[in-house]
């Protein structure tokens, strides 16, 4: 049988983890930020393939600036 105390403890920790995650997501938007970075990366690749080096470099600069801010 399950040990009731450990289940409660596990549930408690899991909920706490979710709460913290939601709080940080609400506060900093990390998931959205990751999604935005992925989108920018995809766009930069496409521009690179199309020979639009200037546009690709500008996106790279934006990503670099973002990385500097997050440090």
């Amino acid at each position: 049988m399950y040990k009731q105390a450990s289940v409660e403890d596990e549930l408690y920790r899991s909920m706490e983890k979710s709460l913290v995650k939601n709080q940080t997501e609400n506060r900093y938007g990390f998931d959205k930020l990751v999604k935005a970075i992925d989108l920018l990366s995809t766009a930069a690749n496409i521009f690179d393939q199309a020979g639009m080096v200037k546009e690709a470099n500008e996106i790279t600069n934006i990503l670099e600036g973002l990385a500097q801010e997050l440090k």
Binding site: L33, L39, L40, T42, A43, I46, A50, N61
Partner: protein
Amino acid sequence: MINKSVFEDQLISGMQDNLQKQASNQTPDLIKAANCLHTALEIFEEIGSQKQADQLLKLLHKIAQHHTTTTKPVEQLPSVKSLMEAGLTQKDLMEFSKNNPVAKAKVNLVLRTLGLSEHQIARFIGPANVMSEEDAKAVADPNRSFGKMWNWMKDPTTPTDPSRVQPGETLQFESVANDRATKGLTPEKMVANLKNHGTEFNLADVPPFKRNLDFDDMEADFADLLNADTFDLNASDDDLLGLEVAPEDDLLQVSDQEAFSDFEDEKN
């Protein structure tokens, strides 16, 4: 120091990427890239990263501006007015739509005179309708029979030159001269005139032009009558002329006394 093996590896991978890009020959989906940028912009605005959002907006604006200015300008066909001024008629345009080669040649020549290149003409009227300048001149030349042949091929029953008499048509002349010698002249009358007078004209009907006659216009014997004091209305023409007709002879025999005396005088 630069690690030589790493540098070579990067170079090789870079070249490989380039080769793969060229070999794949796939057109990059720029619309997808623009959508990605737009979604990323919205995310940055949502999470409060206004700086990145502004940078992305600026980039999107630049891309849009670049593609607007680099799009090829739309070429416009010369206006109908300029075509007309260059010598093209409405009929030529209608015939051009019916694939008339003469009209095609005219359109080609006119577009060339308006300064269009052969490539531009091909884009306007289609590559199949483009003629070289020499060919167009030769086909459009009115002295050549190509146009007449084309018209005849379209409808062989239509006369090529309506001003000329066509086979089977009757010809009717109408005299424009106000001359009595030709007035009312018909082929039948001409034949009759020719038989009777030796000429086809109405010479017998021509009246004297002088309204007042003088001595010169009359026979010499009749001219004396004009000065005579009296004039016998019952006298015959023979009496008036002083001719003596022998009753025992043929009535048609006429003797002139003076003529005989003249003859005797001559004999003597």
